[in-house]
Structures are given as structure tokens and as C-alpha cells.
């Protein structure tokens, strides 16, 4: 079983970010201003996007790395309620999430995720909608490669004072072969 150095470094970076964000809770004074500062708003938005990207990379890094306990995923979720629609299953509690992650790991000893660009849109308040596509390349026990292509839509809660958390993930299978989305008209 192999772990890519790239994955490991991403995971370490992600965990360090989580730790730093956690340590900073309640520590940063709020700006006392009646009118919003456009520069500060832009910077804040970039901060949120970076944190959300880190959250997403952390999620997949945990799934990829067999040396990281699956329960780490629980820390990325909102306390309650949350909803994960993964592999056709509807997951509402942490026990079911761990069972799902364990099943995935036992089915595929080696997994690699290849993420397309991540699109983040502010939904208002502290909610963000995130959409991206990815390929999951996995090897089973027999060494056969398994490939899926999927779209994820996440709803993330991200505020200035707290680490972003996942409220919802919806997964949709996509056809994965390049150029196969087109249709033809037969006459």
C-alpha cells in the first residue's frame, strides 16, 4: 500500500491549517466600522475560499490515506444536522459515515482522487455552495483499476471565527469518458 508524498504533504498542510484555525477561535477582534470596507470584504472572501478549499482537500486526503483514521472525517462536519448523499446512501450520523468510509477502504486498498477546479459561491450569511467534479481511481485487492467520475455539491458553513464545516454533500455520478456527453441526432 502506497501513500504519495504529495498526498501526505497536503494532508499535513490541511491538518496544520485546521489546528491553526482552531487555535484562533475567538482570538481575532472584529473591525469596528459602520460601512463595509470593500478591500477587507474581498480579503475575507478569499480567506473563506482558501479555508473551504482546504476543507475539501482535507476530506479527500483522509479518504486517500489509510494511515489516517476515518473518524477524522467527523471533525469536518457540522455538529448537527448534516446530510451526506454518497454512493447512493443517505448519511445523517457519524456512525454511518465511519461505516461508509471503512467500507470504501476495505473495498479499495489504494485510492486516488483527481479534483477538477473548485467553484465556490456565497449563498448569503455564512453559507457557501461549492461545486466540483472529480475522478476516483482505485485499485481493488486483485489489482484491477476502478474508475468513477462524479460531481459533488457541498453546502459549507464558514464564518470568520470558526473553522468551516460541512452541512451537506450531494454526489452525482457522471460519465467519465472524454467527449461522451454529446448526443447525435439520427435522421
Amino acid at each position: 500500500m502506497k501513500t504519495s508524498p504529495i498526498f501526505t504533504s497536503r494532508l499535513v498542510l490541511f491538518l496544520a491549517t485546521l489546528s491553526a484555525l482552531g487555535a484562533g477561535i475567538g482570538g481575532s477582534p472584529e473591525r469596528a466600522s459602520a460601512t463595509p470596507d470593500p478591500v477587507a470584504q474581498r480579503d475575507s472572501s478569499k480567506d473563506h475560499e482558501a479555508q473551504i478549499e482546504s476543507l475539501i482537500q482535507g476530506w479527500f486526503a483522509v479518504l486517500e490515506d489509510p494511515n489516517v483514521e476515518a473518524k477524522t472525517l467527523s471533525g469536518l462536519l457540522a455538529e448537527a444536522p448534516f446530510e451526506l448523499l454518497l454512493d447512493g446512501a443517505v448519511i445523517h450520523d457519524r456512525g454511518a459515515l465511519l461505516a461508509w468510509a471503512s467500507s470504501l477502504r476495505s473495498t479499495y486498498p489504494q485510492i486516488e482522487y483527481r479534483l477538477d477546479p473548485i467553484h465556490i459561491h456565497a449563498e448569503g450569511g455564512d453559507r457557501y455552495r461549492v461545486r466540483f467534479e472529480f475522478d476516483r481511481h482505485a485499485l481493488d485487492d486483485a489489482g484491477l483499476p476502478h474508475v468513477v467520475r462524479r460531481e459533488h455539491t457541498w453546502i459549507v458553513q464558514s464564518s470568520t471565527s470558526e473553522t468551516p464545516v460541512i452541512l451537506r454533500i450531494e454526489e452525482r455520478p457522471l460519465i467519465f469518458f472524454p467527449g461522451t456527453g454529446s448526443q447525435i441526432v439520427c435522421y
Binding site: 486517500e64 479534483l115 477538477d116 481511481h137 439520427c186
Partner: protein, 219 residues
Amino acid sequence: MQTRDRVPQGMIATLLIAMCSLLVASSGQLINSEGQAGSEKPLPIHDDVGGEFSAPSSLGRDVSLSEFRDKVVLLFFGYTSCQDVCPATLAHLQALVRDLGKASDGVQVLLVTVDPENDTADHLEQYLARFDTRFVGLTGTRKEVDRIANLFMVKHDRSHGIEVSNEYNRAKTFTDHSYLYSHSQQIYLLDKAGRTRALFFTGSPLEEMQDAVIALLNE
């Protein structure tokens, strides 16, 4: 995990990535960007696409995919009223099967109609016999056909009164009873266990398709 919008920065990063790739490749576990594991590696299994199905067929009875578990299956969606791409695809599959020679005994071509209202089992039998009597057509109720199409993520849409703009199409006469189907055009290659292993098109090189079919026959 890889993010595809990241570009390696500088020669050191490039060298590091190249070295990592070489290390992984030398371990025999590299999966390339097409999802295939190199020429000596098996074709990937595409878990999200396909599944077991059963439907009335040109054999005069219901057939299920599992009946062909000892064969490599080439699956295509189309309809018999189609005058260009569908027959061209079937001719392509006909040539593929012909060139395989004796090995074609281990191959089954299946056509699932997207026009079950018109394509009865008898009609499919007569139509497919023009290409190869071993080809099997599948039909059924609209619900049955749609279920199979959904398994393979096939889109299809029946349209009336399509506007045409070129000379070829202007020469045609469309009546109230005429219609067209827009549908996905891929040819699915399924292994002996009924799992989707590759996709091809009418224009896919026959040699490439034959290599894939033979690889699955030898599994």
C-alpha cells in the same frame, strides 16, 4: 489527491514530480491520465456505468445481460428508423466481429432500441439480420428501455418538426408522423462479468477496439 488547476512551479518541482512518477511506475501501480494502467495493465472497471438488465429481445424471448456472462459484450443504443449513424455503427461492429474471426464466438453485440414503440422484437430481428444474424436487439416498454438507458447514462429524446438547414436535409420530407431521435452514441464494451470496461464510437479505430475485446476475452 490531485487538483487539476495546479501547475508545477519551477524545475525542481517538475523533477520531483517526474521522480515520484518514475518511482510509482516502477512499482507497477501507476494509473495513467486515461484511467488505464498502461498497455500491460487491465482495462479499468467503470463502476458507475452499467448493471444487470432484462428485456424482450429479437430472439423472441426476454434476455438478460447475465446470459452473456461468458462473453464480451458490445452494447449500443439506437433505433431502426435511423438512416445514418445507427447503421454506420452497426456496420462498424459488423466489421469488428468479422475481423475477429473465430474469436468472435466469444463476443456478443447488443442493440438496445431507444424507439420501442416502433422497434418490435420481430422488427429488430429483421433489421439486425442485415448486419449479422448473431446480433441481438432489445426492446420492451418505454419504462424498460429507459431503465437500461439510465443504467448506462444514455440520453435520448424524440423530436418532431426538427428544423433543417442544409441541402441534404431540405430534400427530406417530414410529415406529422415522422420523428427523429437524438441519443448518446457510445459503444460500451462490457467484460465477461458484465462490467463496463471501455467506451468507443463509430469512428473508433477497429484495431483499438479489437485489442480491447481480445484483452477482455483473455481475462
